[in-house]
Symmetry: C2
């Protein structure tokens, strides 16, 4: 049988495949992964790749637009190799295995052309001082300041601990110490000394995202801007509550606040040790830290009681923390490193969102953009270059797997993607870690509900159709339910099911999120259909199957190519702010310029929420593509 | 026998005295003290009082100028009552008993017309805040800042500890907290919050003078400027060395610096407790501290190694400390109180001198003024409104009683004043505490050497004349010596003597000081005789018998009325700086504007020192009044 040369990009592999092979088989042969949420049945459109050359024949082009096809896109599972061909796998389609480990953020590019001299606030250099004499017996501090003034630094702050140690350093370095200083946010002529050293040093910084679930760090060389290494770990506060509300309640108990503060510090210390093992950079050589995180996480990190965040009228103690010293915060980096917590907007729109907006670049484009970060809360920002409106909807913990009978977090053993055969109603699923399933995580639940809906297992109100000819549907303790995995397949030996109660919880969650979009659009007199780009941030967003999220009405029904997956935009924004003072100042502009809509004070929200309590929505005309699939399948 | 009505001022007492009584007898009768260092023999001129009325006859007017007599001055010991008379005792002549207790600073007047609103940086007031609502859910910090901005404070810094506690305070005060803030040194629109309280509060501050020997405090009501109480105590560092040099050496030992830091903090804590007992003001209600002290004391207080101060080229680590928080310095006042160490000029011209110059007012007058503070070091400033030159001479510890066989500090049992009969060479002396003598303190040594000189017991080179017809002079172990107290009179049962070696040490000390004056005058092309005012500051200066200090050539031979005794000018300057931002800024101007002359780099100093190694000086024409007394007595 004839074979053909197949070249794979961007990994630059070449292999021989026999005539008639599918592109998916070539990709698997090359040991690469590609998303195939529908199991290769050509229905989800997620395995789209770019084909170059005449050797590929498309069997089906479902979910591809004419423009896509003109651009060379083909569905890997529906395209047959009949000659030499080059396949390019779009990066966002490569499956990132997401056991929550720090490998998920292993490769980070410098996000812009980096010029430390003009952008970076932290600088290190050797300073030559005239030796003191009887004719020039200025004090050590004046001598040092004068030399820095000669370099253009007019206002120099030398913290007391450095004054306490500088006598020895100046003399032992032969009056040529290495100076590490931080220029002010706005001015090159105003600076604060971070350290004086006898030996040369290279400045390193840390971007830190404190998530309710995961703490993520980037260790960054501040001279070339490169990420030296990344590390992520579960927030040790999880032991005191899974979501922000339970943490706030715990913080109000005796010693609760201090306990939570110690726990997140412990997590950070663990990450710093790991980074040190991998790079050799000692934590005390970290001279600058930028912190992003939601408002509650920032309060707990700064040891500020968060109690008022959860009480009407939802007032945080602080949205714009100033820069503090690491020693004031008992953080294990250089004690005089500045720790700069990025600003938030409100109790439920925090620095994770402002950092995310920065990372998304939505302020740099005229396009009408919707930025969303879906977790326990759905935080969302609608806007363009000159304006931003934001709100947060309490989606409840359903997408985190809580409030759902067999729900679980996205760890080993979680069903993360489901496909249901439209005739047999038999499911196919993918489990994180490729082990027997233990439950269903958020993305799995979205996927499952969408499949149940488009295959007609549940109706538009979310009721399980018990009259279907399959043992998978049955009456359970909590009403009608659907069995995803039989007891033989599961780790526990019990069936894994989705019940009517679970469906109701998921529908409330998705309705709250969609209602948020509606309120934002209404507030500025626009239509969601006008949105040019939907930027999905956050760790959860990274794993959502957008197709299915649209099918259940969680996300608006827009053309596929308007959706972009940005991953952890919170840490990415912190990384950008770490590199560039302009980027840092932009976060403040973003926070200051964002109009916050408090949904609990907004009547339109309840109406929008009620309207969204159908699959995909009461007004199905808002979801034309979903309607088409649903009508065809059901 | 006829008696006459004698009225005494300023104590406003009236008594009847018989004809022929001396004014000193009337003063003693009224239970008042007046200096009589020569024992009432009409020689020292220290008992001058102002006489009003015709009832007083002057028997002698030695040491009084024609102008003095025209102004009504008379020597109390040489003036006979022959009719009704009013006597006013000049305040500086009232003897202050000087066991080092805090009573010496008991009554302090507000030094200028005080207007807290315009002068004081620390302000306390109630702040009314709008209650948050769903329509106004700004964060607590923004809400507070906005209300302060409406009052004219543009730049507000709220320290993290207040942010950590403000949530409760704002709510429990019903959104009307008491705010204590500190305005910046230069601007009314820039301020830092010190506290937020539920209850009203009245701001209190502390002026702190850290002397090598004594720590002195004034507790001050910052609303009316009044001194609520004063307290002074020996610096607990004395246990680790009596003078700055021995403290510097001790500080370089392991844990030495920390030990000295803890010791001075302990002293300050003791004083704060004492002030609290007397006034009810808790240390944590002290919102502002101004610190004066010599450069070494400031270094030790700030825990900055002082090693370089004593090594050529005598470079301190810092002359201009910035303001630190009490919590950074572990001082037991309000943790967010600013602790502002006044600036110094050089290793041996510290903040005690710049504060002293402020308190002396010499920058406010056109007169050529000499300001001196004599202790282990003689620090001196020559200048007028527009210029100041300064230097410090190491006088050695002789004036502190060290390096002298029977020398001791000015405490109970110290001979503090001596008078020697010019024919019998028998001494009269006064002992602190009126107990049997234990030794001789600095002022006693000056007094004794002057008496030995003017009565001819020692010659101009300081040699004891062993051929005098008195058992008081004899050959001892250390050369010729003079016996001040026989063993029967003393506490120890041994003779108290002054030896040739002691005399040499004293002469080196006084020569160093006088040489300093000479160098300052020479440096600006002036003559010491041109000095219009000699301002004597410091605790020691307060007790020097100027007459005798001139006789030995320690002080220049100028008319009596040009000498002024200012007491502890260091704490007084700190007090002024505590009250008024203008005064505080003036100290900086003083420090910046002072030209420091390093004597060890100055050739003229050695010549001047050698010339001063006689009694009173090689060139006796510089001491015309002393020459006159000496030639008459000897």
């Amino acid at each position: 049988m004839a074979s053909h040369r197949v070249k794979l990009e961007p990994s630059n592999q070449t292999l021989e495949m026999p005539t008639g092979s599918l592109l998916t088989e070539a990709i698997r042969e090359a040991n690469l992964d590609i998303a195939q949420p529908c199991g290769g049945q050509g229905r989800c459109g997620r395995c789209a790749v770019i084909v170059d050359g005449e050797g590929a024949r498309r069997r089906s082009t479902i979910r591809l637009s004419g423009k896509d096809i003109d651009s060379g896109f083909a569905l890997a599972c529906q395209t047959v190799i009949e000659g030499d061909v080059t396949i390019t796998i779009p990066e966002q389609e490569l499956i990132s295995r997401r056991l929550v480990t720090d490998k998920s953020a292993a490769k980070v590019e410098v996000p812009f052309v980096y010029d430390a001299e003009s952008m970076q606030s932290v600088r290190a250099f050797e300073l030559e001082l005239p030796e003191p004499s009887l004719d020039d017996n200025r004090d050590d501090v004046s001598r040092t300041k004068t030399a820095l003034v000669a370099m253009g630094y007019e206002h120099i702050d030398i913290p007391l601990p450095l004054i306490q140690s500088m006598g020895d350093v100046l003399r032992q370095s032969n009056w040529s110490p290495w100076v590490i200083l931080e220029r002010s946010e706005d001015s090159n002529s105003s600076a604060r000394l971070i350290d004086l050293r006898k030996e040369p040093t290279r400045p390193v910084g840390l971007a830190l995202d404190i998530g309710t679930t995961t703490v993520t760090t980037y260790l960054v060389d501040l001279e070339n801007g490169k990420v030296l290494n990344t590390a992520a770990e579960y927030n040790d506060q999880i032991a005191r509550g899974e979501d922000v509300i339970s943490r706030i309640i715990y913080a109000s108990k005796e010693d609760g606040l201090a306990d939570l503060g110690q726990r997140v510090r412990k997590t950070i210390s663990t990450l710093l040790e790991r980074l040190q093992r991998r790079t050799g950079v000692e934590p005390t050589d970290i001279y600058k830290v930028i912190v992003a995180g939601n408002t509650t996480m920032i309060h707990l990190f700064l040891q500020i009681p968060p109690a008022s965040i959860r009480l009407v009228p939802y007032v945080p103690a602080i949205n714009h923390p100033k820069r503090y010293l690491a020693s004031d915060l008992e953080l294990d980096v250089h004690p005089l490193a500045s720790v700069d917590c990025l600003p938030g907007v409100a109790s439920y729109v925090g620095a994770d969102i402002t950092a995310g907006v920065l990372a998304s670049g939505m302020k740099d484009k005229e396009d009408l953009t919707l930025f969303i970060d879906v977790g326990t809360n759905g935080e969302m920002v609608l806007g363009a270059k000159d304006w931003l409106v934001t709100c947060a909807c309490s989606a409840g913990p359903a997408f985190e797997g809580a409030g759902v009978l067999d729900g679980m977090r996205a760890t080993q053993g979680a069903i993360e993607e489901v496909w249901i055969h439209s005739e047999t109603f038999e499911p196919t699923y993918r489990v994180i870690g490729e082990v027997p399933p233990r439950g269903i995580c958020g993305s799995g639940l979205i996927s499952l509900l969408a499949e149940l809906f488009v295959t007609g297992v549940v109706d538009r109100s979310g009721n399980v159709k018990l009259d279907l000819d399959t043992p998978r549907v049955r009456e359970g303790e909590h009403g009608g339910e659907y069995v995803i995995a039989w007891s033989e397949e599961t780790e526990s030996g019990n069936d894994i099911v989705l019940t009517k109660v679970d469906v109701d919880n998921l529908m409330r969650a998705k309705a709250a999120i969609y209602a948020g979009f509606s309120v934002l659009a209404t507030s500025v007199g626009l239509d969601l259909a006008d949105v040019q780009r939907v930027l999905v941030g956050g760790a959860f967003g990274k794993y959502i199957n957008v197709e299915k999220a649209v099918q259940i009405g969680l996300l608006p029904d827009l053309p596929w190519d308007r959706f972009h997956f940005l991953g952890n935009t919170s840490v990415l924004g912190a990384y950008m702010a770490l590199l560039s003072r302009d980027a840092r100042n932009k976060v403040r502009e973003i926070a200051d310029g964002m109009t916050y809509i408090e949904l609990s004070a907004d009547n339109t929200f309840y109406d929008a929420f009620t309207a969204a309590m159908f699959l995909p929505h009461t007004n199905i005309s808002l979801f034309p593509n979903v309607a088409e699939v649903w009508e065809r399948e059901a």
